[in-house]
């Protein structure tokens, strides 16, 4: 029996002669699915809040500073314990500031 199991695991190991990496890819798949589905189920009742959120952040800033819509980068990284939403807005350099380095405003939210 032991010997049989040895051959079994050995032979399923050689199966991956087509394809490298080996190991527990199914575990990785489960983790990825759990994470993405947890977020999607949340999104279902707060669907598409990111565009609205972005619009509101921009409107708030635009009250004080003229900003170029093209210079706004929104990045999201979903994690198991915490997600980060990063909004990078490039502000125009006022004349009295240096021309080269426009100050950057970064808003972080979790």
């Amino acid at each position: 029996m032991r010997l049989f199991e040895f051959f079994r695991s050995k032979s399923s190991g050689t199966k991956s002669s087509d394809g490298g990496g080996g190991g527990q890819s199914a575990d990785k798949a489960r983790e990825r699915l759990q994470l993405v589905l947890a977020h999607e189920r949340l999104d279902r009742w707060s669907a598409d809040y990111v565009p609205v959120l972005q619009k509101e952040i921009l409107a708030a800033i635009a009250k004080h500073i003229p900003i170029d819509q093209e210079k706004v980068a929104v990045k999201l990284e979903r994690g198991a314990d915490m997600s980060t939403l990063e909004v990078n807005i490039e502000l125009p350099a006022p004349q009295e500031f240096t021309k080269k380095t426009g100050p950057r405003l970064a808003a972080g939210a979790t």
Partner: protein
């Protein structure tokens, strides 16, 4: 100016998304600036296959609706910096794909990329129509099986009539067949359609034959295009297909059953 290639099939579940990810990563790995667009609105999958599902903020439909800029929705692959993904919406439906919207996104991308790959949804409805409408070339994906080949023929008919190239320039777009989930053992036993027969029935050029392979499942588990697995025969077959897309002439490989070791045969396993 980018070349727009649609990956389509008619029949569902034959391997379009797997193929789009594999070809896209293959082209990008050879230094071509490549963007992959998911046209399967409502059933987002390409992000999982490419392993960028945690980084989706905006999508194709947000861009079409003017809710986000294109550059905000594009996701850059972490492994290949020549590869970008435009994910689709998980919450909207295919009616969100307007002709003008799709055209404007493609026009914006054309200047910045060498290849634009469009992953079509199954069927012949709006999503599939929009995925193929602006294409310069088409890769039709099929399995060696009657219903798949039949649906392929239907799609080839649409590619010959319902695309902008045909409507405007009266020019046929280049079409290739990509045969996947090919199992040489079963073909030899007469259980699966033969390649020559399929090519004769469809009268189309063969881009590649991808063997049925466990490495495809593993790659999708990991969120890695199978072309990045350099030990995978399916990956190698896809890389050959990439070369053919780029105009190189290569022999087709992996058409004969793999010789199995004594142990594997005793265990009744197939490679």
């Amino acid at each position: 100016m980018a070349k727009i290639i649609v990956i389509t099939s008619g029949k569902g579940g034959v391997g379009k998304t797997t193929t789009t990810a594999a070809l896209g990563a293959g082209l990008a790995a050879r230094g071509h600036r490549t963007v992959i667009i998911d046209f399967d609105v409502g059933l987002r999958n390409l992000d999982m296959i490419l392993g960028c599902e945690r980084r989706v903020v905006f999508d194709f439909i947000n861009v079409i609706n003017g809710e986000a800029k294109l550059h905000q929705a594009l996701i850059k692959d972490k492994r290949l910096d020549t590869l970008h993904i435009l994910p689709t919406s998980q919450t909207r439906d295919k009616d969100a794909l307007t002709t003008e919207g799709v055209e404007s996104v493609l026009d914006q991308l054309r200047g910045d990329f060498d290849f634009i790959l469009c992953d079509s949804p199954a069927g012949i409805e709006r999503g599939a129509h929009m995925a193929m409408y602006f294409a310069d070339e088409a890769v039709v994906v099929a399995n060696p099986e009657v219903s798949s080949v039949r649906d392929c023929d239907r799609i080839l008919g649409l590619l010959d009539s319902k695309t902008r190239k045909v409507e405007r320039e009266q020019e046929r777009l280049k079409q290739y067949l990509l045969l996947t989930r090919f199992d040489p053992g079963r073909v030899n036993k007469g259980e699966m359609l033969r390649i020559e027969d399929i090519l004769e029935i469809l009268a189309i050029d063969l881009l590649g034959v991808i063997p049925e392979s466990e490495s495809v499942l593993k790659a999708s588990n990991l969120g890695m295009p199978v072309t990045l697995d350099n030990k995978s025969n399916a990956g190698k077959a896809y890389l050959d297909a990439v070369s053919r897309l780029l105009g190189e002439q290569l022999e087709h490989r992996f058409l004969a059953p793999e010789r199995r070791g004594l142990l594997q045969r005793l265990m009744g396993r197939t490679a």
